[in-house]
Amino acid sequence: MMLALILEIIALVLGIAIIVRVWRASALDGVLCFFLPFWTIVALIKYWREPEHDIKYLMLGQILLMAAAGGILVHADRQQQARELLAQQQAGEDDAEDAPGAGRASPAQQSRGARTAAKAPVRSTEPDTPARAPTPEELAPPNLRQALHNATFLRGAMERSLMGFQLQIPDHFHALSASDARRIEASLRQPPDAHLVGWIAHESVALDAPDAWHVTARWHNDGWVGGGGDPLDPWPLLQAAQHAGGTRLAGSGGDLIGYTVAPSSFDGVIDWVEERLPAQASASVLDCHALRLGRRGVLEFTVSGQPIGSQQLCNATVKLLARQAKLDPGAEYSSAPPDGLKAPYTLRELVAGAP
């Protein structure tokens, strides 16, 4: 930052030198250069061939200095954003530890905003002071509108350095951290999800609308996942999935009717679309999945409960997110299992569900 300031000062001095040089040729041009910045272009062309008054080298120097200062400022800004994201991530992990399932969370902690959490990632080591018991109203999860109001929508990249990857949020999409997404899921009376990384939604989608949709990003930190024979042959997969007792992936539950898009693998991304009949539902829905395998686990992107006919949109969205996710160096998938990091299931079992 200090270097950027020094460069800006030198650029300012060069700007003064430009005005002085032009002033010596013509007082009017000097005054115009002072008040109209673009007039320096006119002066540059006008005095190009006059060795005593030309300003090309001064202008070139000024532009280079300004560009260098701008670059330094942008770099500093990105570092600041990364620090803020890391603080939010730490706050999210704190919230994960304090999730209702762990039985240690207070309603005040659960309902606080992500921004507040990011500013206070360090907890006091002082013993707790006695406090009154929370009322049933305070224990109740926030409603959806409150949870959305308190949420911080993120753009650009979601760094998850502890998990070893970075999610790139496409243009016109924004993301919610795990802690914000968990609060929204609590407001919808959904059980806490230990694998949740965040939600990604299109900016045009109101998340409290009846037809709202979003991508759920999850991380299965179970280790390296092997294929298990021909892992993506759709027929054995379909048969296994229809008799599976449960699945590790997010989705609508119920029974699998078939694959609207059968599982396939391309560029390290496995994607498919399931048509499911949820329990007690009269109409079937679509669940779109994309997986990105890593050395230490699997990144999952799921859009669930979509109407029939929407497979193109949800399939394209989960595939794009999975393809754009960046695994850290050393965290990329390897064809052979690394020592001691093998998941207790195969890719086939992950796609089809456990028997």
């Binding site: 496409p170 045009s204 009717i257 078939g258 694959y259 609207t260 898009v261 193109q312 394209a316 794009l320």
Partner: protein, 114 residues
Amino acid sequence: MLSAFVLSAALWAAADADEAARIEQLIHHPAAAPVVAPTKPANARAAAKTAADPAAALIGQRVRVRTVDRGAYAGTLESVDANTLVLRIDLSKQALSYSLPRHAVAEVNAESAP
């Protein structure tokens, strides 16, 4: 080496940009988005009308149905006509009669067939 890297990076970026543009189109103009559905030539359609439907021979058998959008469904073939193909799919608590539009069906095979 460097040029190959730059070219592959550019292709990746272009593919992602295409995908992002397609998503925007599907969100804002879903009806205008291209639907991938191969059409049969006119003589093939005429021939299909006159010839016996090969899927009709599989009624009552376990079949595997491939759709034009890479879909995969399996079940017992209940009925077939010019517009729909009905499968009985056994779910955990019920048997479902599931209709597939014929124009979306790419192929129907008996389950024992390769």
